[in-house]
Symmetry: C2
Subunit: 199 residues, 2 copies
DNA sequence: TTTATAAATGAATATTTATTCATTTATTTG
DNA sequence: CAAATAAATGAATAAATATTCATTTATAAA
């Protein structure tokens, strides 16, 4: 019952399959890295035939790129969830920081995949530039923090990188050592970061 | 004039080639990622024939593994350079932290390569475990810092990860945006970290 | 200078992996 | 239910890549 139903007699495309394919790819990349995946493995993990993969994605490169684009979109959506630039600085900062943490925790496979893509022949410079643009609001927030004398008067990029770097590494370590991340440990990590950057 | 010279008439192996091969591999991995390199490209970049590669390394997997092992060794050597556990805590900490930074800066290709290997089919669990063991002295140092009331009373791994995570991300960003890392910016970053972890 | 030997070469081969395609299956509409 | 059509299949093919090997080159000792 799709848009084409009115003009021709067709078996409709199963849009759920795209998600199956994406999930299978993310799982395999987490397990064996971008260097270790093949199209037939992806098909196998998605429980479809190899040929079916090519109905949905015209090549491996396209598949990787579209998955990257989707991951970036969903990451940015989460980063800025419930964030309003009208909020007080400290509130906005905490909000975004916990959103970043949430994304890394609950979308770990996506994080690993995006990290790997960044140094790969699949992702173009243009795509990388777009990724940078999407974190602009974060940059603005740090600038504001400095202007309001809430943050140390240091290079904005240094502050920004310092703010988020602990998250990536802490979640990575927790996943690999199979340690649960508790609400308390999240707060501890936030406070480490905050004590570092506050004016 | 090697050890075999006394028992047979041979053309000696050019040990310098191993380094050429390693450097070529590191360069290519930095440029296109582990997923993008081929044996013939490595040979080309090392300015030797493809077949010659197989005189020095019996397979691609062996090559990657031996390079990983060498990178890990040299990284650990640098991490603990001029560090003595007899030094006062704060001195030892600063020493190691700057050593970590130096490694990331001056051996950036090695850092990228090791990061990529970690999520790849080339590196075994055993190799990963060994890597963990080699950073034991760092773990001890943090425990000591807590015992001496110099550091916050938080989970040792969290402190450890927090201490080093900024380095990785800051150097990565600086390299890709082609910004020079100055002595002053290094001190700034250290202070961000220190203000976070100090008791 | 000759000889013995392994290094070095790169084209040839083997292997792996991406992609295609002839065939079958499922779905929608008349 | 039949017809029309695209999805789905997986074996076959094409392309890419790892590895081998017959040949040439360089070196060390006699």
């Amino acid at each position: 019952m799709n848009i084409y139903s009115f003009i021709c007699h067709v078996k409709p495309r199963d849009e759920h399959k795209i998600d199956q394919i994406f999930q299978a790819t993310l799982l395999l990349v987490k397990q064996k890295g971008l260097a270790g995946i093949t199209m037939s493995e992806i098909a196998g993990a998605a429980k479809i035939a190899t040929g079916t993969l090519y109905i949905y994605f015209e090549s491996k490169e396209k598949l990787i790129n579209e998955l990257f684009t989707q991951c970036r979109k969903s990451s940015v959506d989460i980063y800025f969830k419930d964030y309003e630039s009208s909020q007080p600085f400290a509130v906005g900062l905490k909000r975004i920081w916990f959103n970043l943490l949430e994304f890394r925790m609950n979308h770990f496979k996506e994080s690993v995949f995006m990290d790997q893509c960044y140094h790969s022949p699949y992702i173009t410079e243009t795509t990388k530039d777009l990724t940078k643009k999407m974190i602009q609001p974060l940059y603005k927030l740090v600038e504001r923090g400095k202007a309001e004398k809430e943050l140390k008067e240091l290079d904005t990029f240094m502050l920004l990188i310092f703010m988020v770097s602990g998250i990536n590494e802490y979640v990575k370590h927790s996943v690999y050592s199979e340690k649960k991340i508790t609400k308390a440990s999240m707060e501890d990590l936030y406070n480490l970061m905050w004590d570092g950057i506050k004016a």
